[in-house]
């Protein structure tokens, strides 16, 4: 398979998952926002808007800050006064902001157009009509009145896309790269959410229990948690669940497993493939950590370590499969 095409497929998978996860998280934040305001005030506010921005790593919509592009993600956490009316549109509709749902889908559709000969016709039509439907919406109005329906549509259309991948796309190398992109993005997004929810050196666990709940709702894993853990969700249990639970498809562990499986299928020589080997080490390391009782502080350190490793995996993938295409681009 052409290296350029493989890379496009990988990023198509990433864009689709990014759009879905962003929509889910915003939906969770809206939910938390509404319930927080209606009940006993501040205590109920769970997944804060500032937290959402920090997860995405997007800059707050403050004018005059354009020059400070390369800031650390932690510094980008906006002032607390930023709320729903600023952040939700920024992350949903803003075509200028690359992190918004609309931008993700527009990118995915452009990639789909380039890849029309590789992906199935039905997948392309799903992508194209997804993009067109976002254009038809009066999203601004929909966000103010019923954001639920907007995010529901995004979730459903993403599910349709992945369902069509499952049903209609040939299980070849290309499919593996698409899958790999989707899984690495999912692992990355969940790790980001966990890192925002479980800050380092924070001992006030109770304050974050409601946040843990919102987090679960945001990734759509609430029911899965209830059925799997059967204990009152607190931040630590939820963190462990989202990190280690191999039976839950959204957990970091199962994303990494799927990522490894996809790369093993795609690679002609998986036993000497750096990304596959690194993933193997990561998975083994996580299994070891799962069996070791730990304090909340060390969990947050672990999260940082896993995310750093994941970045290296991404780098390895780039080197091993796509670099040959990038080489040509440089020469021209």
């Amino acid at each position: 398979m052409l290296a350029r095409i493989a890379q496009e497929l990988f990023w198509l998978g990433r864009d689709m998952t990014r759009a879905e996860q962003t929509a889910r998280m915003l939906d969770g934040a809206f939910h938390a926002d509404v319930t927080g305001n209606s009940s006993d005030g501040g205590g109920g506010v769970t997944l804060s808007w500032a937290g959402v921005l920090a997860v995405i790593g997007a800059k707050p919509p403050v004018p005059g800050e354009e020059e400070r592009e390369e800031e650390d993600a932690a510094e980008r956490i906006p002032p607390a006064y930023l709320g729903r009316s600023e952040i939700a549109p920024l992350l949903t509709l803003d075509t200028e902001s690359p992190a918004s749902v609309v931008s993700c889908i527009a990118r995915a559709r452009e990639r789909g157009r380039t890849l029309r000969d590789v992906i199935s016709t039905e997948m392309w039509e799903a992508l194209n009509s997804f993009y067109l439907s976002l254009g038809h919406y009066d999203l601004q109005a929909a966000l103010l009145t019923g954001p639920y329906s907007v995010y529901q549509e995004v979730k459903e259309r993403c599910a349709l896309f992945w369902g069509l991948v499952e049903r209609t796309m040939l299980r070849d190398e290309g499919r593996s790269f698409l899958e790999a992109g989707g899984r690495i993005e999912e692992a990355d997004m969940v790790l980001r959410m966990l890192r925002v929810a479980i800050p380092a050196g924070d001992s006030e666990e109770e304050r974050h229990e409601a946040e843990a709940l919102a987090l679960l709702q945001a990734v759509g894993g609430f029911q899965a948690y209830r059925r799997s853990v059967r204990e009152v969700p607190d931040l630590r249990r939820v963190g462990r669940f989202m990190l280690y639970e191999g039976a839950y498809p959204g957990s970091v562990a199962s994303s990494l497993e799927d990522l490894r499986a996809a790369l093993e299928t795609a690679d002609a020589a998986p036993r000497s493939s750096p990304p596959v080997l690194r993933l193997g080490r990561m998975i083994a390391d996580m299994e070891l950590q799962r069996r070791t009782p730990e304090a909340i502080g060390s969990l947050s350190e672990l999260l940082v370590r896993i995310q750093d490793e994941l970045e290296l995996v991404d780098h390895d993938i780039d080197e091993r499969y796509f670099a040959i295409a990038a080489l040509a681009a440089v020469h021209l």
Binding site: M1, L2, A3, R4, I5, A6, E110, R113, T114, R116, D117, V118, T121, W124, E125, N128, S129, L132, E173, F177, A266, A268, Y321, F322, I324, A325, L327, A328, A329, L332
Partner: protein
């Protein structure tokens, strides 16, 4: 059965003077072969056509069968491809003539390309002047003396045909570089079967969907010396190209890689593509960009779309390129004039399809005649395509005539003049659901591998503006599905000629599935009386 006189679905349908209509006789009655079609159209009425038109636009938008237009405020917008819902119908007899005529013409053009870059026999016989050939912008010096693998140069051809007021088919233009439009032929047929299935009733229309297999077969057939399965790729300039839809369509239908210049690399006079598993050899390239851009070492050095060293590999015979390099010399408008002579010279046959009468302006006597009759003729620049710079005498003002006269006198060799052909018309839906005559042309597509194969029909382009004869889609043209009726001519494969095969008898397959399944269904559905008596279901109050 309704009487033919009641079969007029169109009030005030008047065929423009000088043209013939392909579906209706001069007095407005349907021609015999489309009786059933017009009956159906009449029964459906304008509302059905309008409604189907809306569905068509939605489906095309969703499938991305669109082209970009610039709106008045300068923004780019996608518009659905304008497919007219009334098909154009050709009889089997008409098609046989066209098919044979095109095959003959393409064979002659292929001989000509081979001759131009090798023996120059036609020049030595004094038929085509060498000075004219070498002065063509598409004449490719770098491939002089290079024989294409398999001896085929014009693998994919699309000649433009028109039908004049006398009802005869003529060739208006040859296109043996990178003709496009075949994807619309296939998509149009698919869309028509979905949108207007009623129209097909009572007609046996020859299928077109085998084109991708024909093309792939031909591209494989010309692959140079391969011991295993040859690798065929389709080379596109990229997603920004106007015909990208077609490139992706063909690559998908043929199941081959769609490559860009950055994906190809030449090592040791062999072409490779960059894959995730390293370099992989490429045997045949179906390229969809012009000679000028394909190799910056031999042609335009500023081309970013090209692959350096490609011509070296081509000369070494390690890769087949379709269409071959330098074929543009055969479809130049100044060479067009000589094609009937070529057919006589190379094939010793009389041309089946005629040219439109054409005058070379470098000849003094002809130029004088042309300048006198400029208001009746069509003048075209020799090395342009897509309807660019075409001057139509009868549609021009006095000032425009004067301007064209100066242009011709300044550089007579850049132009040719042709008699105006009154293009035939076909009923077309014009926005209100009613039918009016619109002018059409026809571009059939031929594939030349081991032999020449032509897909029945082709792309019918229609000028949607009343009276206009410019059918290019960049200038407000649409298209029509083109039917070739099957009335039992031997030699062409059609599904209708297959003998009916009764389905096999499978006595072990019973209605209701397997034994266990049936039992389970019985158990899980107790009789209604039990259900009400039992305590499982709360009885309604």
């Amino acid at each position: 059965m309704t009487m033919p006189t009641e079969l007029l679905p169109i009030d005030g349908y008047t065929v423009p003077a000088g043209s013939v209509d392909e579906l209706l006789e001069a007095d407005g009655t349907p021609r015999p072969h489309v009786q059933a079609l017009l009956e159906t159209l009449q029964r459906l009425g304008p509302e059905a056509l309008l409604e189907a038109g809306e569905r068509r636009d939605t489906i095309f938008m969703q499938q991305g069968i669109t082209f970009e237009v610039y709106t008045s405020d300068g923004a780019r917008r996608d518009r659905p491809f304008p497919l007219d819902l009334v098909p154009r119908v050709l009889t089997a007899a008409e098609w046989t003539v066209i098919k044979r005529g095109l095959a003959q013409r393409i064979r002659a053009l292929n001989h000509f390309v081979d001759d131009v870059y090798h023996a120059h026999e036609i020049v030595r016989a004094g038929i085509v002047p060498w000075s004219l050939i070498v002065s063509r912008p598409c004449f490719a010096r770098p491939v002089h003396g290079v024989r294409a693998p398999g001896g085929v140069y014009t693998h994919v051809c699309g000649c433009d045909l028109v039908r004049g007021g006398d009802g005869l088919w003529r060739v208006l233009e040859d296109n043996v570089r990178t003709p496009s439009g075949i994807s619309y032929v296939l998509e149009n047929r698919l869309a028509m079967t979905r949108l207007m299935p009623e129209l097909f009733a009572g007609h046996r229309v020859r299928p077109v969907d085998h084109y991708p297999s024909l093309l792939l077969e031909a591209l494989r057939a010309v692959a140079p010396g391969v011991e295993s399965e040859p690798t065929v790729v389709l080379w596109t300039p990229g997603p920004l190209n106007g015909a990208y839809f077609e490139h992706a369509f063909l690559a998908r239908e043929m199941g081959i890689e769609l490559v860009e210049a950055t994906d190809l690399v030449v090592r040791d006079a062999t072409v490779y593509m960059r894959t995730t598993a390293g370099l992989q050899r490429v045997h045949t390239i179906y390229r969809r960009l012009d000679d000028d851009f394909i190799d910056p070492l031999e042609f335009r050095p500023d081309s970013l779309l090209g692959v350096p060293g490609l011509i070296r590999a081509y000369r070494a015979g390690t890769v087949a390129i379709a269409n071959a390099i330098g074929t543009g010399v055969a479809d130049d408008k100044a060479i067009y004039h000589y094609v009937p002579e070529m057919i006589r010279f190379y094939l010793s046959e009389e041309p089946i399809l005629e040219n439109v009468p054409t005058y070379l302006l470098s000849d003094d006597k002809l130029r004088k005649m042309v300048l006198e009759r400029l208001d009746e003729l069509v003048v075209k620049p020799t090395s342009e395509s897509g309807g660019k710079g075409v001057f139509i005498g009868p549609h021009s003002s006095a000032a425009e005539l004067e301007e064209e006269k100066h242009l011709i006198l300044a550089d007579p060799e850049r132009f040719i003049a042709q008699e105006l052909v009154h293009l035939s018309t076909v009923p077309t839906e014009t926005g209100d659901g009613r039918l009016s005559p619109r002018h059409v042309d026809l571009r059939p597509f031929a594939v030349f591998g081991d032999e020449i194969r032509i897909v029945p029909g082709g792309l019918t382009r229609v000028a949607l503006k009343e009276g206009s004869m410019i059918v290019n889609s960049s200038q407000g043209g649409g298209s029509k599905d083109t039917w070739v009726l099957d009335d039992g001519e031997p030699g062409d494969f059609t599904p209708g000629t297959l003998p009916l095969r009764p389905p096999p008898r499978l006595p072990d397959i019973r209605y209701g599935g397997w034994h266990g399944q049936a039992q389970q269904q019985q158990q899980s559905a107790p009789p209604a009386a039990d259900r009400l008596a039992g305590g499982e279901f709360p009885a309604p109050d």
